[in-house]
Symmetry: D2
């Protein structure tokens, strides 16, 4: 077996949802979030507390990104200085204003992956040809996700707290058993169609210890590791969205096979599970630990980027 | 009175909320959206229907922007073509992926203005010096808004339908009476602390008739026009957010004074009302007209852009 | 004959230089500019007058570009304002500095086309597969041209003056006879391996009359029109570089066939003639008309952009 | 003496050329390059050999930049892939083309500094107020330099070879004596108004040993160090341009005072000497060492960037 067949081999007998919602589907497991499920999310709200889960864009200490991407560059196109230096004059009546401009990777911050973002065997989600990604995502782009909106009941599983540490270690993995035991200890039930939010504490390293500590000699995030039972559980529980406080939502290198990002293909490409990545969970998690409410409303629709491979979002959790 | 004193004159006796939430406040009327108000929003949900209110970014027909700004440029950094042309090789195991990059004005799509975005008399919201905008918003940037989140009960007032036309005309204005009569005819009550969403139909012109029809010889959007009673009503009703389907949320040129964007200063700079601009309201409005439910939950937090004058958002309305 | 076969048909019996400099060549007719030819250029200098032929980038009135491209966006990353607003502090000893950033199309100003920039029949210059352009020019990019440098004797042919008008009209064409009669009237000899610079006056319209006049309802620049004898003359005269004051160096729409930019394929793709476009020739041409010296040294190497389809240049003419 | 007064103290009695060419001058020592000097440059050409002195932009191994800047991002806007994936169709007649887009710091590659790029005591070149840099260089931008063109006789001083090493060490300095002894050993005379090109070999470290070796723990380039006699020599010899193969043309930290980039202020701000930075000199230097010809024609005009603090250039040396 050549190396680049490993993922295909691993996932050969794993379930898929291709064609489950027809040959033209581009939103996959987001189909689970029907109005009934939205109302289930609404009913989970108890206190009216709001948490925003995006990370800062253009942070003075830099933005955490997948290797090869770069952080945002934000620049003023005008500000009070332009008026002081006579480059601009006040508008009729006296109004002045500041304005700015950004260049960034669409997945260079808290974002949703398009379902077609990753693939193997030349097929993306629902069996569309990977060639449709050329020059922009014709199929399974982030746009249909953004048009639909992502609203439902979410459950936070605080894996780091469950393991009694401030953050998981580089490359540390966990699996289905950990999800279930963590939920049990938290006293929360993972219901069918729940948005699943996993906290590893990992992202904090970037901000508290700096890029060198975060990237290390070899980038290898902690996170969920592939197992057949994990994939089957996602399939059966019909999880619409997986969200974490890591760049890529799963451990970077599968410890068994050495393959990269197996769950991107097992869950996203094959099951149509939405990946919401790079969330800031520290404040939400501290609050959940304090009041014991780990289920809440999640509302967060990515920007409607035409043909985007993903798009930024600042999701809202309402407890 | 010189021309650039007009706004200062117009607003001389108008109410302000400066210092109402202390000298360090940067979120203004967003302070009204307490947990109680969030729960009021939650309670407005009846059916679980979700509408996303952002416009498409990087649309093939162009993006509607304020004159002087330009639309987004979105480019692939990698896609299947890169693998076909041997510029990239699959990752260990076989994963391949597409990625992209964008350059855009932060206010070049559906977005929230920072409270410090516009000013007169060298002072922005809460009295901060306009010089704090130089090189990036030190004060009253979009970041605190994005950290807080914008969640509450919203009311849609469909002014265009109220006037029996598909969209208001260039420069057509309306005022407080129209808001109230529209609400009455719609059978909806504007409650204290409601997010106010006004539909003019104007944005549709860009997409249906093209940029030439939208911009015209002289850019002059329809919208709310300044009046003392309007400002007082916003003040008394403690409206936290004003949102519309126009680029700038108000008529461009005040027909009385000729001043530009008077309400940006009267409502945003002085009262701290958040401006959420360039919303796509056509689908939501059609649905409201059909089922008569004009009040709903609004959840939409802009991206957390450091020192941003504004930031994109794809708000969610849940009916 | 289907429409997209027209260029292939037109050029079926036209000469090519493919393989003339071996199968690995990427600079085509630039090979003609040997040290001997460089010295010939040096010898053409008489007075020491210098003219720079680039257009302004980020001009306040906009930059003239091919439809679909956009002009440059140049923004300050820091300036004195940043020090005044305490966003920056002077470096040790007291130095302060200003810095800036640009986003632009590589062919959005005075530039050299890479030889592989345009093609038909899936083959670019020298027969390389057009698929090598995917994700960046693997072959016949602008880089080898920029590594080599473009230095030689140039001749200006002032076609507009020859025709007694300030600028040619939209879509106005000229041919080999015009080149020869213009040279004759100017009293200059076109020697083998001369860089050929043609002035139409067209670019002036953008700056003097504005974009609307320049682009018109249908973009159709004046310029050279395809003819078999013209192509043969370029082939025999071994012209290394064609340069003009238009966006695309030739009339946009071939009046005979309706095909777009036939000479890009006849001269650049097939003969390997370098295209240097969007030159500012007004000052040079006025001076040549005054002193009668129409031959001079040309020195202008594009930026060394890796895999670029083209790259900016500010060429120098030394009379 | 507070730290940020050191440069002002060091340069208190040093010569300046302010007002030498009138109160409106923006090109400083470039005024020395009269047509006579251009002809002197032309006469230095012996063999017709051409060397291009720019570095690669968007190099796959990254671009060497001043700390705080970032390298270029170059992306395709279209290529053969777009036609294969039906995102584009051939133009009438059959033409297809590739196109691309770049984002970069204007000083993020081989470039000329504008004379107003650095300053102390709130005054830039010729005494213009540093406030004129706000929002773009109103005065002493790179544009007048680019309009004028930089053509003249240049002399290469190969300091690294002179010291018998492949490249100078981090922070290694040299001074006027070294320039003179190096010239003497090379058998070349530095004439009045010569463009001075200094080779340290330093830039090679970036490409051969990588960014970590190049930047080190503390960025400190080798180069010329400030001394009163050096500044007086530049003043008397009327050097129009200083060019090197380092990012900033001088040693980063002055070993005597600890001040940053003293010569930027002593030579550029005060004398109006043009700084041409980040040159690729390896090929030129090897050739000069082989044939002993260290004087040649330099022709290299930066791009005409409106209000630019600097602009890229790919200079040409003709021996």
């Amino acid at each position: 077996m050549t190396d680049d067949r490993k993922v295909a081999e691993l996932l050969r007998d794993m379930p898929t949802n291709w064609n489950r919602w027809g040959p033209d589907d581009e939103i996959g497991s987001l189909n689970y979030l029907t109005p009934e499920e939205v109302l289930r999310g609404i009913r989970s709200v108890r206190q009216g507390k709001v948490f925003t889960l995006g990370v800062v864009i253009g942070s003075p200490t830099g933005d955490p990104v997948w290797p090869g991407r770069s952080g945002a560059t934000k620049l003023m196109t005008q500000d009070k200085g332009h008026y002081l230096s006579h480059k601009l004059q006040a508008a009729p009546g006296g109004l002045e204003y500041a304005d700015d401009y950004i260049t960034m990777f669409l997945q260079g911050t808290t974002q949703f992956d398009a379902l077609g973002h990753t693939w193997y065997d030349d097929k993306i989600w629902n069996g569309y040809d990977a060639g449709t990604t050329i020059g922009g995502m014709d199929k399974a782009s982030v746009l249909p996700i953004a048009q639909h909106g992502v609203v439902g009941r979410a459950v936070l599983l605080d894996i780091a707290r469950h393991r009694g540490k401030p953050y998981l270690d580089r490359g540390e993995t966990f699996g289905l058993d950990d999800l279930l035991s963590c939920a049990e200890r938290q006293g929360v039930t993972i219901e069918k169609h729940d948005i699943l939010i996993l906290r590893t504490g990992w992202l904090k390293i970037f901000y508290e210890q700096g890029p060198a500590a975060f990237y290390g000699d070899s980038f290898n995030e902690p996170g969920l590791a592939f197992s057949p039972e994990l994939v089957k559980w996602f399939h059966e529980t019909e999880i619409p969205v997986l969200a974490t406080d890591t760049i890529a939502n799963e451990t970077t290198v599968d410890p068994e096979s050495g393959a990269l990002l197996v769950l991107h293909n097992a869950l996203m490409r094959n099951l149509g599970v939405l990946f919401n990545e790079i969330l800031w969970l520290e404040d939400l998690a501290a609050d959940c630990a304090a009041d014991g409410q780990y289920a809440f409303l999640y509302a967060g629709s990515p920007l409607k980027v035409y043909r985007g491979t993903g798009a930024p979002v600042n999701p809202v959790a309402v407890k």
